[in-house]
Symmetry: C2
Subunit: 295 residues, 2 copies
DNA sequence: GATTGGCATAATGACATGTTATCACATCAT
DNA sequence: ATGATGTGATAACATGTCATTATGCCAATC
């Protein structure tokens, strides 16, 4: 039979204030309620807890022992309250985000930076990988949310469009095509092309979108990641097609040039993916607000 | 607003069994009761504690935190139960006994020995002093019980006769009176006498009892304690009058002799003194039983 | 010896906590 | 598919815990 912790709370107050009536006052209840509670606790524990013959009230040995444990219990209870409040006030907590490579590398860092400045106590986990893997980890639950490229066929997942992203054709600024003002589609398609590997989401999107338009890009080279594609392109090995978000720095430095080819324009939606029924932590809530706020 | 620890208990069971219905079974209550309790706890804490979308049931971050604290709380509760049971079963506890010098030195040791052999986990305190001081310490509460000589005028204390004690006249066995078969009262009263100091209870008893009979003993020497009286007497400095309980060893060794003088026979009651309303611990209860049992 | 403060007791009332009945929804074997 | 099974949610209702007010007793104090 467990100890009735409600009665214990009242008894602890009596022990602390060394008086039934003062304890009652502190608890905002009547004195008889406290009297009865302590008496009932004594009945249940089978031990006399208070020496009512002395004034101020004294604890018996059993009362002493029980009181010490009660203090420990209510200290822990208080700690729990504090911890929950911290969680609510975002002064404690974790947030695990999954992202596909391009988003993780180019779009998320500033957002995570802003989040961290605002909620420095929240522990952030960023998991970058292929959409397939990210989705899998979202379903098996270590991830709170995922931001991925392209279409998601998910069982019970909620997919929301987040931002639109454009894939642009890039050339080294010191290459012939880079120096051309507005090269024709024909000239562009005649040039060598550097691509991401076949498995990647970006590559899939590009292939599908262009196939729909009846265009096939030449494949000269495949690279494992966007960063390599950019380096190869700026080294003059050919043209490339990457997310507009990925080349801000190179454009600024004048290393790369965007070739404006309306026929090759590929736009895609970046998606926010969540498990729909799963409870939403305060940290996730705050992160969602930030995602919607940022333009 | 403190956490409702009753609801917390049900929640902790759910967390442990990762199932509402199994938790309900373990608690011997119905499943809806558990459902409602957890829901109410979530309402009160303002946090979602369980992720009901996964199976088996998963804890949210808040639930995780609350569960850890709950475990700590209920561990402490269990420790309290154990401690109280120990107290009840006399496997833990203290017992503080006050005694006047003669009782403490000669009568109590065998009793305390028996008590300790029977209840080795109980911590014993023996406080030996003048009746006056012992009574004072009983009232101001560090002592659970006192065993004293002679009459006690106590305010609200309960005085119960314990054992009868006889004060006997002793002589060194190699002294002239010691060798005499049955010396006359006159011869005894003519001899030098070694007494306890005037403040002691024993001395008071002797003086009063003999004064009632119209007898006054000569005072040759005063000593601070019974042990010294015995040594002085066996060294031949005169006769003495001490508790029969105090000389068992010397009689056995043949050092001292009891002079049988009917006129000088002084009997007194040794008393058990307790604070009447004060709660009685298990240890004290056991000690009282032992006091009554020993003959 | 009346007053005051503190705890106990009794009669009664409100709310917390339990119950049964039932539904909704998955999973799973047939 | 389909019906059996397991699990949780919800609703209506019963119960018992925990509170209240009213009052009495006792000790301390002026």
């Amino acid at each position: 039979m467990p100890i009735n912790l409600h009665l214990l709370r009242l008894f602890a107050a009596v022990a602390e204030y060394q008086s039934f009536s003062r304890a009652a006052g502190a608890l905002y209840i009547s004195q008889p309620a406290v009297s009865k509670a302590v008496r009932e606790l004594e009945r249940q524990t089978g031990a006399t807890l208070l020496d009512r013959s002395r004034s101020p009230l004294a604890l018996t040995e059993a009362g002493e022992i029980l009181y010490r444990h009660a203090q420990q219990i209510f200290r822990t209870e208080h700690a729990a309250e504090i911890a929950l409040a911290h969680l609510r006030d975002l002064e404690q907590g974790r947030l695990a985000i999954g992202a596909s490579t391009t988003i993780g590398a180019y779009l998320l860092p500033p957002i995570l930076g802003a989040f961290h400045r605002r909620y420095p106590k929240i522990q952030l986990f960023l998991d970058i990988g292929h959409t397939r893997d990210i989705i899998e980890r979202l379903q098996s639950s270590p991830l709170d949310i995922a931001l991925v490229e392209g279409p998601v066929e998910a069982d019970g997942l909620e997919v929301t469009p987040w931002r639109e992203d454009e894939l642009v054709v890039i050339a080294a600024s010191d290459s012939p095509l880079g120096r051309a003002h507005a090269p024709s589609l024909k000239r562009i398609l005649a040039a060598p092309f550097v691509h991401r590997e076949s498995g990647s989401g970006t590559r899939q999107i590009i292939d599908e979108a262009l196939r729909a338009k009846g265009i096939t890009l030449p494949v000269t080279l495949e690279a494992a990641d966007t960063e390599t594609v950019k380096h190869l392109v700026s080294a003059g090995l050919g043209l490339g097609m990457v997310s507009a978000a990925a080349i801000a720095q190179e454009l600024e430095l004048g290393r790369l040039i965007v070739l404006d080819a309306p026929e090759l324009r590929v736009r895609r939606w970046l998606s926010r993916v969540q498990a729909p029924i799963r409870p939403v932590s305060s940290a996730l809530q705050a992160f969602l607000a930030l995602l919607d706020a940022e333009v």
